[in-house]
Amino acid sequence: MNWQQIWVAYMTIVRKEVTRFTRIWQQTLLPPVITTSLYFVIFGSLIGPRIGSMEGYRYMDFIVPGLILMSVITSAYANVSSSFFGSKFQRSIEELQISPTPNSVILLGYVTGGMARGLLVGLVVTIVAIFFSRLSVHNVFVMLSISMLTALLFAMGGFLNGLFARKFDDVSIVPNFILTPLTYLGGVFYSIQLLPDFWQAVSHLNPILYMINGFRYGFLGISDIPLGISYLIILLFIAALFTINLRLLNKGYGIRS
């Protein structure tokens, strides 16, 4: 395949993925918006005023970046894991396997679809957040780049989950038992400065902490982590996941007998 054909193949996968999640928007776009709105109402409007300020910002304004990024993470991850596993389950993945499309393009196509859903959900949640908070942007480049890289990272994670999944339960185990706890403990609702030294050190082992703090810097200009470290950690994880996914795809793990 020449570059033009590869581009057509890539765009076909992306279009297929975007068509899929927009066709079932009630399942893919609406729930995270409703869930995050409830967080805004409960933690921001009802409980938030009693908590007071966090690092000089209203509690509501402090948690908004984390909540937006949380919706980006879960949506990007869920899109790729469920879509790829669905293709395996229906065996429609064979359409791609027998084609000359390179495995790297298959991976990037699915991942771009996941990023698209994650970022679209993030955008809608941001719009909703405007109604509940005084949303300001400190550095638009940081905000956009961290959100895109985070979506990319978790879309890669979702792909890995899709490759390993053998039944529908396998698609929900990682989000329920790993992703959600790590997100909640990654500083969405608090600054790690509030934690004792030991738990601060433990928190630094959580990769989501670096993303949420980087993203919060984009909005508020504050972060518990140096910005460069956030970028470095995110890029390292992306590179590792890309390599693992591509190797497994080349071996045919989970898709070839």
Partner: protein, 309 residues
């Protein structure tokens, strides 16, 4: 002439130790209509899976139009279209989306893909259904959609793994016509089927796989020439209580108005009627019990089982 498909010493051993292929070698010439026959579990689908990159092989080489599937896999895959045995459609998409996307996976842009989609969906009687959700199509329509999908990149070699399974006779015949036309236009076809009259009527060459080995690989004509026996079923005008002692063939009274006779080629049909006339038995109609290829197939695969037992 370049072989459309060349398989050399192909072996497959699954993780559970099952040896599905035990070193098969085959060559299918360009333009051929080739039947790959075998019982369930004989290794046909494994071989097709390896050719189409869905199954990892243990050993051996596969070339599609001289492109090694391990070395020149993009070129090899571009030459190949596959209609699998099991429905593997993305059932929430429409037929139009499925075929246009498939073309996209081969680098064909959407404008050209839409033109090809109209051509093949129309030829296969699916154009009116192009915007329906695939899940709601009948089994026969889904099978035809898989054929349309496999043709979207206009492959030079088309493998059809039991394409007419579960399809009613009318649609099956229209599919035969369509596949024959595709072959006449130059596409090499490899067909696996359980309907042996399908292979006898359509295919010029036949290979029979049994227990992971090729037990026969020849032209359909030569294979049929090996058939030395025929079984005829005779429906009688009047019922008979028992059979007289016939000189030729093996006779069996199925019921009072039906007789089966197993005769060799040398004995011929005339001999049967001579004996029936001598015994004043009148025949209303006559038909083959099974087609010749079916009988040969059973003989060959049974022999193999007995030898290996």
């Amino acid at each position: 002439m370049t072989a459309a498909l060349r398989i050399q010493n192909l072996e497959k051993e699954y993780d559970n130790g099952v040896k599905a292929l035990k070193g098969i070698s085959l060559e299918v010439q360009t333009g051929d209509f080739f039947a790959l026959l075998g019982k369930n579990g004989a290794g046909k689908s494994t071989a097709i899976g390896i050719i189409s990159s869905l199954v990892n092989k243990t050993a051996g080489k596969v070339h599609i139009f001289d492109y090694d599937i391990d070395v020149d896999f993009p070129m090899a895959r571009t030459q190949l279209g596959v209609v699998p045995q099991e429905i593997n459609l993305s059932v929430f998409e429409t037929p139009l989306q499925i075929v246009v996307n498939q073309a996209g996976f081969y680098g064909i842009d959407r404008n050209k893909a839409t033109i090809l989609a109209e051509k093949y969906l129309t030829q296969l009687g699916l154009w009116e259904k192009r915007h329906d959700v695939t899940r709601e199509l009948s089994g026969g329509m889904k099978r035809r959609l898989m054929i349309a999908r496999a043709l979207m990149h206009q492959p030079k070699l088309l493998i059809l793994d039991e394409p007419t399974a579960g399809v009613d006779i009318e649609i099956r015949r229209s599919m035969w016509e369509f596949i024959s036309e595709i072959n006449e236009q130059g596409t090499t076809i490899i067909l696996t089927t359980h309907y042996l009259e399908e292979a006898e009527n359509l295919c010029r060459n036949v290979a029979i796989i049994d227990q992971g080995r090729v037990v026969e690989n020849t032209s359909t004509r030569e294979l049929l020439a090996k058939s030395q026996r025929e079984i005829y079923v005779l429906d009688l005008v009047e019922s008979v209580k028992s059979l007289p002692a016939f000189e030729r063939g093996k006779w069996k009274l199925v019921n009072p108005t039906c007789i089966e006779v197993d005769i060799s080629k040398e004995q011929g049909i005339n001999g049967i009627f001579r004996e029936l006339n001598q015994n004043q038995i009148k025949v209303q109609s006559m038909r083959n019990k099974s087609n010749r290829l079916e009988q040969l197939f059973l003989d060959m695969t049974t022999e193999e089982e007995e030898t290996s037992a």
